[in-house]
Structure formats: structure tokens, C-alpha cells
Amino acid sequence: MARIKYYQALTRAIREEMERDERVILMGEDVGASGGIFAQTKGLHAAFGSQRVRDTPIAENGFVSAAVGAAMTGLRPIVEIGFEDFVTCCMEPLVNQAAKLRYMLGGQVSVPMVLYTFGGGGVNAGPQHSQSLAAWFAHVPGLKVIMPSTPEDVLGLVKAAIRDDNPVICLLSKKLIGTSGEVPDTGTELVGSIGEAKIVRPGCDVTIAAVGQMVLTALKASDFLADRGIDAEVVDLRSVSPLDISTVLQSVCRTRRLAVVHEGHGPFGIGAEVVAQISERAFGQLRSPPLRITPPFAPSPFTPSLEQLYLPSAERIADAVSHLAMEAR
């Protein structure tokens, strides 16, 4: 095993897939010789040249539309959008083109492309550089949406996404860029499976379903809860679409309690969907009302002190889940 950083797992996934399949290309703002704003594409331009690793102008609508056109005609493009907020500038080609072309063309084409981007808060980046829009994309049939939280999952899921014949949106967490984790040594291939949640901490008192950087926060919260005598099970959703509800359901059937934690807003969000699906399937199993823990319905502040209040913290999660676990004990 090797220990690498979150962003290095991304670089490795892209590099391995570009070596494996010459149809794979990378395009985006500053992905070329500069190596990207977080060094996430460092070395790729030198390795694969400017035909396959292409700097684009600042024109998300244009180059994402171009990626869709290229994916329809024999390439497997990877597109970087530096900040998740900027994906709003290319919703058109994603939602109306990439997601629907296979259906609209009666199965004549597939659109094998990956769009990866860095989202979420915790780095004082302000309202236009901190959003988590997973629920927007997950609402669109034809798209897949993944949110890896560890270097291992970045490596495995990005590789799986590149090999997938559907458009896949990969939402990475800015806050996790510098985190480290174990991955197989170079030369040992790891290809993940999109649509599988993972129990990252087993427990029997309450299920905390989390996604993205909130998985790490939920794990920290579970330590606080353990100190209070509450044994929480933490499920990393890993993929938002498809959503592995059966793993969450099985967990909830054991713990009889559910909290969902994520960075996107509460209304119509990931938590709303998970809670709805669990309520539909296991309403009678629940010992207490399911809970969503999310930021408030307001833009993300730049102010460090306010952003701390904004994002769900381990303490806040532990407090909320403690109440949940105490109810109807």
C-alpha cells in the first residue's frame, strides 16, 4: 500500500486511464502545463501532450458542450471545472445534452464523459466558491453523481467513472484536497464500483449517512458520541446517483434511527431524498423521526467565524444525534 493525498489520487486515476485508453482526453481551464490550481493535473501535460491535455478558454458552456460532442463521436473526455459553483455556467450541455442525448437519439450514441470539480466549504471561499450542488445534478435522469471522500475512493471511483459509458459528475471536496490515505501501490489497479455506499464505522445505536467531507466530520462526531455511550454507524454514501439506499436501509433496520449529514442545503436535498426513501420503506422500523443536518438556507459566508457556524460541525452533529438517540429509548 502507498499513502497519497486526495488530489494525487485524482491525478493517478487520470494518468492510469489515459495510459490505458488513448480515447481518454482531459480538458479544462489550466489543466495543461500549469498543472492546475491545486496541482491536481501536474505532470499530465508533459506525459500526454497538448492534443490530449488541453487548456481551454474560460468558457464552460462552450468547452463542456464540446466535450459532449467529442464523447458522442469516439472520445472519452474528462472535463475539469475548477470550482463546483462554475458548473452552473454549463448546466445546459450537461442537463439538456449529455444527460439526454442517448435517450433522444434512440440509443444511437452514448456520452462517456466525466466532469470533475471541487466543491464545498470550509476554506473561507465565500458564496460563489463554496457551494455543494449535488442534489441539482442528482435530479437529472441520465447523469451519475459521485462524491468520494477518501484518496482510495477518488482513485477507484474516478477510474470507474472514466470507464463508464454515461456522463458522470464527480464532486470532489476542496477541504479534503490535502488529506491523505492508503491506496494500492502503483501497478496494482483499483477500479471502484459506482453506486455502492460503504459502512465506514459500524455501530448499533444510530445510522449517520454522510457524504463528501461530511463523512470525516461524521466520523469525528461518532467519537464524541462514543464518549457519551452512543454507538453510531457511519455510512459514506459515496454516490448520490445512483443512490445505494439498500445499504442505508439495512443499517437503519439495525439501528432504528437515522440522521443524514451533507453540505448542500436541506430543502429538496440529499437528506430529504434519503429520509423520504427510508420512510417509504421502513417507516414502522424508526424509533424516532429521521433527522437532516445541513447548513442553513443561506449563502456560504466568507467570514471564518460565520462559516464555522454555517457548516455542520462534529459537535453539532454529536449534539443533534444524541437527542435523536435519547428519544424513545
Binding site: 490505458r20 485508453d21 482526453i25 492534443q51 490530449r52 488541453r54 481551454t56 478558454p57 468558457a59 458552456n61 462552450g62 468547452f63 463542456v64 458542450s65 464540446a66 466535450a67 459532449v68 460532442g69 467529442a70 464523447a71 458522442m72 463521436t73 469516439g74 472520445l75 473526455p77 445546459e92 450541455p93 439538456n96 445534452q97 442525448l101 442517448r102 435517450y103 433522444m104 437519439l105 434512440g106 440509443g107 444511437q108 450514441v109 452514448s110 462517456p112 435522469p141 441520465g142 451519475k144 470507474a160 470507464r163 463508464d164 459509458d165 454515461n166
Partner: protein, 327 residues
């Protein structure tokens, strides 16, 4: 500058262009009639009057070349070689249609014939076309793309983004603008700040020409020159054809925005008549024969399509996602 190609077209090429225009004319007239009868669901946008653009432009392409089209795409699809039977089946919402009868007039595609699809979002033909041209360039294919669009799309952000990217990357693409006088329900002057769309090519550093969109031969020559240029690595071009939209934006559009003068002049704008005029003495009968044949083919297509089955309920969920992984 675009170089001139041969002055006189071969008989074969003349016949091809003329026949294609007649097929488009017949297709649109029958679609209009069937729509009025309530046989076609949804809504349709017709290209009557614009036949010379599709027929002339696509005659300059090879079979392996690609096109991306617009919401007004029947003519482009026919001209690039899509099967009128399957096109009609799609308009009639039948399962033998190109999209299994689920997407209709605005999404007709025949990828094997190089038609990457009509498209319901104004301007996206240009971005998708840039991507197809990028794919050709990276895969070292000797082919080119035509991205059809209209003056309405010329004001969209995607038009600028696509033309800038195509120029930066020297992609083998022809941006073909059909200026049909109206964008949706308002005239050219509401949408375009310059006298021509072609002059905008200067901003991107590639050639732009304006041609008479009533004259299929002129259209053919301009596109042939642009395609030759793209094929030899010269990069993109912009070809603007000034044409006229006989009908409304959609079938049923009362067209209150057309002036009496425009209506009167529009009646004389006829690319098929123009092509006949170009013919030498004694060719009238030959052209009439071609036109009758084309009309018969399209009538047969409509008759065939009208008798087909609708897609089964299971089609609701087909082709949303591709089959899983390979590799």
C-alpha cells in the same frame, strides 16, 4: 480567403442537389399538412424556403463528414442522407423512428449517416459541432463538421464560445448560418447588431462569406471551399446564407410579425425555381421528372409511417443510461 471551386457542376451533382431540395420541400409540405390534420403530436418547425441551404451545403460533404443541426433540422437531416421513412416515423411518434418515436421532430439523428442530431436548444449545435471536430482532429480523421445555426443563435454566448474555441484549436468545422430573416417571432434586426453575421468571423480570425441562400449552387461552392480549407488543416470558416423562412417559427404560428411587403417578397423566394432557371434549355422535363420522383418517395414515407405502431410502455425507460462498464 475562400478559393473558388469549379464553375460548372456536373449533371450528377446538379441532380443530387435538385432532388434533395425537392425531397425537403415535399417532406415539409406533407409534415405541415399532417400536422394540421392532427396526425403529428407536439410541435414542428419547418424549413420551407430554406431548401438550398441544406441541399447545397451537404452536397459539399463526404459521407463520413458530420453535421449538427437545429430545431429546424428536417432539411439538414435529409440532405446528409437520413432515411425519410424513419424521419417520418419519428414525426408520427412511431417506434421505427430514429429516436424510437420518443423525441420527435427536434431530435432526429442518424449517426451512421453523419447526422449528430437536430437539437432543441438554440446554439448548442455549435458547441457540439466543435466537440465533433475536436474528435476528428484528435483521431486524425480526414473529415469535417458543419454546425448549422441561425441568426437567432448568433447572439447566444455559446456561438462566441464555440467559434473562439474552434479558432484557437484550428478545428475542421464550418459554421453555417442560415439567416432566414426571423428568429422565433421577431426579425433579424432584433437579434443581430451587424449587417451580416459573416463579418463576425473577423473577430475570430477565420474567413466568413455571405452567399445567396436562394441559390443552391452558390451555397455549395462556398461550403466546398470552406470544407477543402478545413480538410487541409486550415481551420474553421463561417458561411452565412441569406434565405427566407416561408412559414412561421412553428406550425400554427400566426406570423403577425411579418410585414405585408415581406410576405409579398417571400412568395417569390423559391430556391427550387431558381435551380430550374439555372438549367440549360430543354432540361425542364428532366427536372420535373426528378421532382415527381422525390415527391413520390416522401409521400410513400408518410403513408408507411402513419400505419406503424407507437412505442410500447417499456420504451419509457430505455436508453436513459448505457449498459454498465466495459473494460
Amino acid at each position: 480567403m475562400l478559393t473558388m471551386v469549379e464553375d460548372n457542376l456536373s449533371q450528377e451533382l446538379t441532380d443530387l442537389i435538385f432532388t434533395t431540395m425537392c425531397e425537403i420541400r415535399a417532406f415539409e409540405l406533407i409534415a405541415s399538412e399532417r400536422y394540421k390534420n392532427g396526425d403529428l403530436p407536439g410541435f414542428i418547425h419547418l424549413s420551407l424556403g430554406q431548401e438550398a441551404c441544406a441541399a447545397g451545403a451537404c452536397a459539399a460533404l463526404e459521407r463520413e463528414d458530420l453535421i449538427t443541426s437545429t430545431h429546424r433540422g428536417h432539411g439538414h437531416c435529409l440532405a446528409k442522407g437520413a432515411d425519410p421513412n424513419r424521419m417520418m416515423a419519428e414525426l408520427f411518434a412511431k417506434q421505427q423512428g430514429y429516436s424510437k418515436g420518443r423525441a420527435g421532430s427536434m431530435h432526429i439523428a442518424d449517426v451512421a449517416a453523419g447526422v449528430l442530431g437536430a437539437n432543441g436548444i438554440v446554439g448548442q449545435s455549435m458547441g457540439l459541432g466543435v466537440g465533433a471536430a475536436l474528435s476528428l482532429q484528435i483521431r486524425h480523421q480526414p473529415n469535417v463538421v458543419i454546425a448549422f445555426f441561425g441568426e437567432g443563435a448568433s447572439g447566444a454566448g455559446i456561438a462566441h464560445e464555440a467559434m473562439n474555441i474552434a479558432a484557437l484549436w484550428k478545428l475542421p468545422i464550418i459554421f453555417f448560418c442560415e439567416v432566414n430573416r426571423y428568429a422565433e417571432l421577431s426579425p433579424y434586426e432584433v437579434h443581430v447588431s451587424t449587417p451580416t453575421v459573416a463579418e463576425r468571423s473577423v473577430a475570430y480570425g477565420f474567413p466568413g462569406v455571405t452567399v445567396d441562400g436562394e441559390d443552391a449552387v452558390e451555397v455549395y461552392r462556398a461550403v466546398k471551399a470552406a470544407a477543402d480549407r478545413a480538410r487541409s488543416g486550415g481551420g474553421p470558416s463561417l458561411v452565412e446564407a441569406r434565405t427566407y423562412r416561408w412559414q412561421g417559427h412553428y406550425e400554427g404560428d400566426p406570423q403577425v410579425y411579418k410585414t405585408d411587403r415581406e410576405r409579398a417578397e417571400g412568395q417569390h423566394f423559391d430556391p427550387i425555381a431558381k435551380m430550374r432557371e439555372r438549367g440549360a434549355a430543354g432540361t425542364e422535363q428532366h427536372f420535373t421528372g426528378l421532382q415527381k420522383e422525390a415527391e413520390r418517395r416522401i409521400q410513400a414515407a408518410a403513408l408507411w409511417a402513419s400505419g406503424l405502431q407507437s412505442p410500447p410502455p417499456a420504451a419509457l425507460l430505455e436508453d436513459v443510461y448505457a449498459e454498465a462498464y466495459h473494460g
